[in-house]
């Protein structure tokens, strides 16, 4: 897989990444979800400590995206408990909004707002959700646009940017809300190979600053260097999870072995 090779030259400093022993960011217990009669998520249990970087992989249709989308209620779970930052996710709209404020999300197709400039994309939520004064929101937005290395694009529209730039804006947009957790749903799958690295670099930077991250991705180089845990899902279940080194060199479950052999040996 060419992406894997490309990601080999990314650099990450694991010594900076600190995982808390006591502080729980997300706790999922016995979560089940059905689409009609189809059981898409089966008894998911996952405890994420603050500062953890978790990579979730698995074949398409395995429920990995659905799982992380349940965490900020883009999908509703029917059974089980999800607690984010101490708040239990129920159908209470106030709770949902509270959680969404603390959880940032990046999508495969960026989902920037095409009718707003880059700067407006970034300031929108701080102004309307956090009730921040416009000037302060713009300062924060520029700060994060500089972090993702595109402050000069602030007054352009998303349609004028490349895919990699758009995804970096999407990350900056989430960061402007100062989230405690970041969810990434295949952030590099829609990008050309040469743009993948610029997005991964930003994500590594985030990890080094101690952001709690859940990434659905097939960037195995990223998983090796950044993740402290890799989760393999298949048919709506967590099949295997481990630290990256043993996960890749010594997978236990048959399906994990099959999956890894398919994506790694080309």
């Amino acid at each position: 897989m060419s992406d894997v090779n490309l990601a080999e030259d990314i650099q990450a400093d694991r010594s900076k990444m600190h995982v808390s022993d006591t502080d729980v960011a997300i706790e999922i217990t016995g979560m089940n979800k059905w689409y009609g009669d189809f059981h898409v998520l089966r008894d998911i249990n996952l405890k994420v400590m603050r500062g953890e970087r978790i990579v979730i992989c698995g074949p398409s249709g395995s429920g990995k995206s659905t799982m992380i989308r349940c965490i900020n209620r883009l999908e509703e779970h029917q059974k089980g408990r999800i607690v984010v930052d101490g708040i239990e996710l129920t159908s209470d709209l106030k709770k949902i909004d509270e959680i969404r404020r603390e959880v940032g999300m990046c999508f495969q197709h960026f989902n920037l707002f095409p009718h707003l400039t880059i700067l407006e994309n970034c300031t929108l939520a701080p102004i309307w959700v956090r009730k921040m004064p416009k000037k302060q929101a713009e300062e924060i937005a520029m700060h994060y646009l500089e972090r993702v290395k595109i402050p000069e694009q602030a007054n352009k529209y998303p349609g004028q940017l490349s895919g990699g730039q758009q995804q970096r804006v999407a990350i900056a947009r989430s960061l402007c809300m100062n989230p405690k957790v970041m969810l990434f749903d295949e952030p590099t799958s829609a990008l050309d190979p040469e743009m993948i690295k610029e997005v991964l670099d930003v994500m590594i930077g985030l990890a080094e600053e101690g952001m709690t991250m859940l990434c659905v991705t097939h960037e195995m180089g990223f998983a090796r260097k950044v993740a402290n845990r890799v989760i393999f899902m298949d048919q709506g279940q967590i099949v295997e999870q481990n630290e990256p080194e043993p996960f890749f060199t010594n997978p236990q479950h048959e399906r994990t072995k099959l999956f890894l052999s398919q994506i790694l040996n080309h």
């Binding site: 209620r73 883009l74 999300m105 197709h109 989902n111 929108l124 939520a125 998303p158 349609g159 809300m177």
Partner: protein
Amino acid sequence: MSETNFAFVATSDKPQLPAPKGTTGAIGWVRENLFSSPMNTFLTLLSLFVVYSTVPGLVNWAFVNSVWNANSLDECRALTENGACWGVVRERYHQFLFGFYPSELYWRPILAFALLFVALVPALWDGMPKRGLALMGSMTFPFVAFWLIWGGFGLEPVSSTQLGGLLLTMIIGVSGISFSLPIGIVLALSRSSNLPIVKSLAVIFIEFIRGVPLITLLFVAHVLLNYFLPKGVNFDIVLRVVIMVTLFASAYMAEVIRGGLAALPKGQYEAADALGLGYWQSMRLIILPQALKISIPGIVNTFIGLFKDTTLVLIIGLMDPLGLVAPTLADQRWNGIVVELYAFIAFMFFIFCFAMSRYSMYLERKLHTGHR
């Protein structure tokens, strides 16, 4: 060197050359657009022939051979054989503009018309300084216009039966347009909502109104409403017509906007949700601006349709421009003149519809921000 050796390394950049002659500029445009293929050439020549064989005749009829100064059709025919007889327009244009509005009070609808443009400026021009304040001012326009046209509060009252012509068209058209858009938006959002009761109410309303001819609704406004309303409550016929036309247009508007809502990628809703925006915030800031932009052609289509549909009020006896044709023909002097009257009315409608159409094109260009 063998024939299969395809190894190659570029040693220098190839220069950027100007485009070949005749492919750019005016000549290039003509070649590209008018004579690019035998079929295209044929169509170009055919179109030129059609223009050549119709336009001169039309110009002769409307301008060259036309007569402005004549007091009757006979007088006019004596002056020209194949020219338009605009004398009728010269004599009666005020009727087509104002109906039977008292002529000494014409300044009132004229002032209201002028104020309409003042009120429209902040609504149509988003770069206006102090726009918020100006929009508040625009909000008062309906009341000012109502007062100017119908009188009362110190102005001499004018009854609805005296209203007519373009004035009536404008009253119904402008109020219909300005109220049907917000009502249409609310209906479209209700129909796309997850709340079953709200949704079914919107569906019932839209399907009922769309399933009934406008004329029926106008008859309801004209005759039947008296039975539905409590005794003693009787409001103005023009107001009733405005309500019916507005409801009719808003049902169509709702479907046009729902099309725009459905055309938005799901990711836009999700991104707005994920950022923690509430329902109304995400609708107002993210979804509607984009959905309305997509729907502009359909919205303006509905506006134009509504504006032209106002002529149907002649069926319930209101004197809109078309309704005034019959009284004009009843005048012995002008009996038999038809084309000129309808041409004049068509021209009046065309001005307004064309203006709306141009504005919508401008708006679409302005709101275009590249690809999503």
